[in-house]
């Protein structure tokens, strides 16, 4: 391809601060950007097996072209393109299109950074850090982002904040977008996000995406509320995945090598773990466009936005990178290249794009669709809401609706592609074949070794093929509606019915979720179903909510959640203890180990007392065979043996209380065997000085107001308590 056309630096001059108000620096550091040319997801498979996602055409132009153009216009001086999967293709593209190596004044220098073992955004940033190329604040963006926003305000905000507070490491661009109540996703097909933002400072306080959407409640940490009397809970914001970061972000990724996902790990990690008090802020985009193409639905939505010029100047007739054809905008949002061969009887509906050297036959209808270059479309073809890429041959009488058809696909006469299909490169569909809705067809077999780990990169093509089992087994995955023919082109050329290629079974997302992120609109029935579900939800919530106060049911729920780490802790203590029983560990080490566990689970000292006591009693129970007498005896032995250990944890009355409460709980729930012996063991605990009389009396006192069911054990040991009380009084009297 020829050299790039000259680009105007729209807004660039304004964005680069004119260092006259800075005394310490003659020139501000260049604004850098890190562009991830790999989304580290599998959502665009099978297409991405053959071509990286950033090079997929969006209304005739590769997505990365939009991103780079925007970065340049936003005043970025230096961009690092991180490529991983298909890195050679990305690099080749950068060179071909003239981005790479261009370092003229007023233009953006683009450097490719290559790595082959990165499997996540976290890895990518670690690689960037190692290269040491980032010197100041930078824009972090993924190569599939379409935007025309001005970065100026957000950058200025970020800089000002940083001056005041060096801990403000990141500014996240968010945009208003209300998710649908029914589907819980935005129009881009992203899942809804709940975030809490301080309305004054715009600090991000809480971030939750769909990944852990299992519970019904948003839980906001108490500390957040005590520190911020006001906070705004948003469900109507969309994350644009454009971040302005300080260099600390890179070192944070390096320090925390388990961070993979930008949001799920990094943002959450910063917010929840409160590492070094680093803060993240948000910048709400009020004018301008920003969207990330994360799935097929957003591909569809963003394409339409581009056609409707929401992304101006990123629209087909303003920036077209192929010099040969100028596409021109006609009425009703129809873009047509000058050399389109269009039959008179063909009809192009509103909001459609037709690329150059494409011919469209008689009585065709093209509605809301994008047709690439060099396509041959026969007669009586109906194309509705679809994306046809380059050099596609569609024979007479085909019907394509709401589907994505890649380069070189051949649809033979009468083929019907139902909504939501994805036909990858060079697939052929035979005569009168119906490709059922939501199928994904590729010449490459579906790699079977992929697990549900969504952090996986696009496996590069070679490994995908070599690792896959023989074809025959793959074919059995095929949808029953069409029988995939042999993948030899020859067979299909003879006219056999079928599809050349493999029909992929839906991957980790599952068939149920298929409708969420496909190009096809959500079916009416589905919506009705969802609506119904919401109504039912309502009804059920009514019932559940009626008798109890919200904070009450809240407490019960949270108790369950809180218990979880504790029971784990208990289990570990028990295991440790059993090892000690076996004679492996001496007592001091045992205490050390238990303390270590306590710290690991960040629990109180008193919790330890309970857990250790539990383990001791458990050991007694194991030692005893069955009858109460032997149980009492073994318990006494065990307590005698481990009393020093227990005493180590019962330094305060509270901890002693904890033991009593634990004992009670055990008798009631886990180890009912002890319940008849409660009154007999209690004096023994007192004798071994594990619990003091203070604790016992306080325990009895506390239980006085409890329910009858709770009082069983107090009653059982009433005599003993009475005796203690009297003893105490006697003591008092003696003192007087």
């Amino acid at each position: 391809m020829s050299q790039k056309k000259s680009r105007s630096r729209g807004g660039g001059g304004a964005a680069a601060p004119s260092g006259d108000d800075h005394d310490e620096l003659a020139r501000p550091p260049p604004l850098q950007a890190v562009l991830l040319a790999d989304s580290f997801t599998l959502k665009f498979r099978p297409i991405t097996l053959e071509r990286p996602k950033v090079l997929l055409p969006l209304v005739h132009m590769p997505m990365i072209e939009y991103t780079l153009t925007w970065l340049e216009s936003a005043g970025v001086d230096e961009a690092f393109v991180f490529c991983c999967a298909h890195s050679h293709q990305v690099k080749e593209y950068l060179e071909r299109s003239g981005w790479a190596g261009k370092a003229g004044a007023g233009s953006m220098a683009v450097t490719a950074v290559e790595s082959h073992d990165a499997i996540s955004a976290g890895d990518a940033l670690r690689v960037i850090y190692e290269r040491g190329v980032i010197r100041g604040d930078f824009v972090l963006i993924s190569g599939d982002t379409i935007s025309n926003m001005s970065l100026k305000d957000a950058l200025q905000e970020h800089m000002d904040r940083k001056k005041k507070d060096p801990l403000a490491v990141m500014t996240m661009i968010i945009k208003h977008s209300k998710p649908s109540i029914l589907t819980h996703q935005t129009r881009l097909g992203n899942d809804e996000i709940v975030m809490a933002v301080d309305p004054e400072t715009k600090e991000l306080l809480y971030y939750e995406d769909r990944a852990d959407n299992s519970h019904l409640y948003v839980t906001i940490d108490k500390d957040i509320l005590t520190n911020n009397p006001t906070l705004q809970l948003h469900n109507d914001m969309e994350d644009c995945y454009i971040d302005i970061c300080s260099p600390e972000v890179l070192s944070l990724f390096t320090d925390n090598f388990d961070y993979q996902h930008l949001r799920r790990h990094f943002v959450k990690g910063l917010l929840v773990d409160d590492i070094m008090g680093y803060k993240i802020y948000t910048h709400e985009l009020r004018s301008g466009y920003a969207a990330r193409i994360d799935n097929f639905r957003s591909y569809d939505t963003v394409s339409k936005d581009v056609i409707q010029r929401w992304t101006y100047p990123m629209v087909p007739d303003v920036i077209s990178n192929r010099d040969c054809s100028e596409s021109r905008l006609h009425r009703q949002g129809i873009y047509k290249a000058s050399d389109v061969t269009l039959s008179y009887s063909a009809q192009i509906g509103a909001n459609s794009v037709v690329g150059s050297a494409t011919s469209i036959g008689d009585h065709c209808k093209v509605l809301n669709s994008v047709i690439g270059e060099g396509c041959k479309i026969g007669k009586n073809v109906l194309i509705n809401g679809s994306y046809i890429w380059d050099n596609v041959i569609i024979e007479d009488g085909c019907k394509v609706s709401n589907s994505l058809v890649c380069d070189g696909v051949h649809l033979r006469a009468g083929a019907i592609v139902e909504p939501g299909c994805v036909l990858s490169f060079n697939v052929e569909v035979g005569k009168n074949v119906v490709v059922p809705a939501h199928s994904k067809v590729s010449l490459l077999p579906q790699p079977s070794n992929e697990d549900s780990d969504e952090e996986l990169e696009y496996a590069d093509t070679n490994s995908g093929i070599t690792d896959s089992p023989p074809f025959s087994s793959m074919r059995s995955n095929g949808d029953q509606a069409t029988v995939p023919s042999e993948d030899e082109l020859g067979t299909s050329e003879t006219g056999t019915c079928g599809v050349v290629g493999y029909i992929w079974t839906s991957g980790d997302t599952g068939i149920l979720e298929e409708w969420r992120q496909s190009i096809a609109p959500i079916a009416k029935e589905k919506l009705e179903e969802l609506q119904h579900a919401v109504c039912e939800d309502d009804a059920s919530e009514d019932e559940s909510n009626n008798p109890i106060l919200p904070d009450k049911d809240g407490s019960s729920d949270s108790a369950v959640e809180d218990d979880d780490p504790f029971s784990k802790f208990e289990k570990e203590v028990e295991e440790t203890f059993q090892r000690a029983m076996g004679g492996g560990v001496n007592r001091d080490n045992l205490i050390l180990e238990i303390n270590g566990l306590r710290l690991a689970y960040s629990l109180q000292h008193a919790d330890c007392a309970g857990a250790v006591f539990y383990s001791v009693m458990k050991s007694a129970l194991v030692a005893a065979q069955s009858t109460n007498d032997t149980l009492l005896k073994t318990t006494a032995e065990a307590l005698g043996k481990w009393k020093d250990l227990l005493r180590n944890y019962t330094k305060t009355v509270d901890e002693e209380m904890e033991i009593l409460l634990k004992f009670e709980e055990m008798c009631q729930e886990t180890t009912k065997e002890f319940s008849p012996l409660f009154a007999k063991i209690l004096p023994f605990l007192y004798d071994t000085e594990v619990v003091s009389e203070d604790a016992i009396l306080r325990w009895a006192e506390e239980k006085e107001h409890a329910d009858e069911s709770d009082k069983i054990f107090v009653k059982q040991s009433e005599a003993f308590i009475q005796w203690l009380k009297e003893a105490e009084e006697e003591d008092d009297e003696e003192e007087e």
Partner: protein, 452 residues
């Protein structure tokens, strides 16, 4: 305005003993020499809300309040004083008088509210929004303005251990979530569907419920009738209404809520589908979702008092002292008196000895006498008190007919009617019940003394 006002004047509150007794019900407790209830009643009068039902707990207390009201507000307000039995709780008291409510909207105000927020403004907001309930929310008082450096320091160290969590929509008009008195140690949980329905919710923990509500009568009566166990408006009735308001919101019954939220996929016809939805998203989705629903649902609104408004409830000893101090101090416009150039009020009929100083922020009511070399700072002294020489009164409230003999020191205390303080008695942070005699030379610190 077609508003009926219910003033919940309480009875003889335990927490305020020994200040409150059989003879002095809470409503008549003097605050800056005016009965507490007069603050609420004057406020209502200023808002032209003149149809009142004053609910008092206990027959005897009701009689006393009734007598006072009929003498003080004759020709000014139409007041009906109703006695209800004690320990009903605020909702219970409302239930007891439910039959008397006839107007479309009911304004419920707690008799111990001292504020300059006009109830009329709350009522107007209620009407404008067509709400089922409108609650007045005010900033949580930072207990007592900082008079002395030490006390303010203490306040800061002692953070409130209970939080009121209030959820508002983005226009700050609608009440979406309310939990009173959550433990600070507990995380706050908000039902996701609430946020989903409104898109955006502001969570505030710096607001509190001021016990001033406007209710739609039918809804109030329904709730009181259906939920017989509810005793408190703040803790039960209001949260219930808030909780139930969004119940049928998401589905709405009209079937196409989806397109309001801008999801292209709902629109099935071809052209519409292509419309970029930016414009469709723009209008407040909440308004469409919730406000347009005329059937079944109701709206809960909030009237948020601005920070500079005074809004306190007199429900503890601490708040009694604070409010007294504020009413003669920085919130002096509430007292209804006009202050002198020295920022105090000395009734012309009072008599001061030589070298006696009355500092700013003091009130000295009619017929009181002070001996020589006395010093009074930031205190209220009631009617016909006789105060000897060399007496120091700081930060205190002295009610009517109190005798204070020479050399007494009173600091941070409340001295009720007819108390006698004999010579050189020293009181610090004490409450002295009516008619008590403090013996000569005794010293009391942080005690509550009352006649047995």
């Amino acid at each position: 305005m077609d508003f009926q006002v219910v003033v919940l004047a309480g009875g003889t509150s335990e927490t305020l003993s020994p200040l409150v007794s059989k003879d002095v019900p809470k409503a008549l407790l003097p605050v800056a020499n005016r009965p507490l209830l007069s603050y609420a009643l004057d406020l209502l009068e200023a808002s032209d809300l003149k149809d009142l039902i004053v609910v008092v707990e206990g027959q005897e207390a009701a009689r006393l309040v009734g007598a006072w009201v009929s003498s003080a507000y004759l020709d000014r307000l139409r007041v009906e004083v109703v006695a209800v039995s004690e320990d009903l709780g605020s909702a219970g008291a409302l239930r007891a008088i439910s039959k008397r409510l006839t107007a479309n909207d009911i304004l419920v105000i707690s008799g111990d509210l001292v504020t300059d927020v006009l109830p009329g403004a709350v009522a107007a907001t209620h009407r404008r929004n067509g709400a089922a309930v409108t609650a007045l929310l005010c900033s949580v008082p930072v207990s007592g303005p900082s008079d002395t450096a030490s006390s303010s320091g203490k306040d800061k160290a002692k953070k409130p251990n209970r939080l009121n969590i209030v959820g508002l929509d983005k226009t700050k008009q609608f009440l979406l979530h309310i939990i009173s008195g959550t433990d600070v140690e507990k995380d706050v949980r908000v039902h996701k569907r609430k946020i989903q329905a409104v898109g955006q919710m502001e969570i505030r923990s710096d607001l509190m419920d001021a016990h001033l509500y406007a209710f739609k009568r039918t809804i109030l009566q329904d709730v009181l009738e259906q939920k017989e166990s509810y005793r408190s408006i703040r803790l039960e009735v209001l949260p219930y209404l808030v909780r139930s308001q969004l119940r049928s919101a998401p589905s709405g019954g009209n079937g196409t809520t989806g397109d309001e939220t801008g999801n292209s996929t709902v629109l099935s016809s071809g052209n519409l589908q292509c419309l970029s939805q930016h414009r469709v998203i723009a209008p407040s989705a909440f308004k469409q979702d919730v406000l347009s629903r005329s059937h079944g649902g109701h709206r809960c609104c909030a009237y948020i008092a601005t920070k500079n408004k005074y809004c306190h409830r007199l429900n503890s000893m601490q708040s009694y002292c604070d409010i007294n101090r504020d009413v003669i101090g920085e919130a002096s416009h509430l007292s209804g008196y006009s202050f002198s150039a020295q920022n105090n009020i000395i009734h012309p009929s009072s008599v001061l000895g030589s070298k006696t100083t009355i500092g700013p922020h003091c009130i000295l009511a009619e017929g009181s006498q002070l001996g020589d070399k006395c010093s009074v700072k930031r205190s209220v002294i009631g009617r016909h008190c006789r105060i000897g020489s060399n007496v120091k009164i700081v930060n205190s409230v002295v009610m009517n007919h109190v005798v204070i003999e020479d050399g007494c020191h009173i600091q941070g205390s409340v001295v009720c009617n007819n108390v006698q303080l004999q010579e050189r008695a020293v009181l610090k942070d004490c409450q002295i019940g009516a008619g008590y005699i403090v013996t000569a030379g005794s010293e009391h610190k942080a005690e509550s003394l009352a006649r047995r």
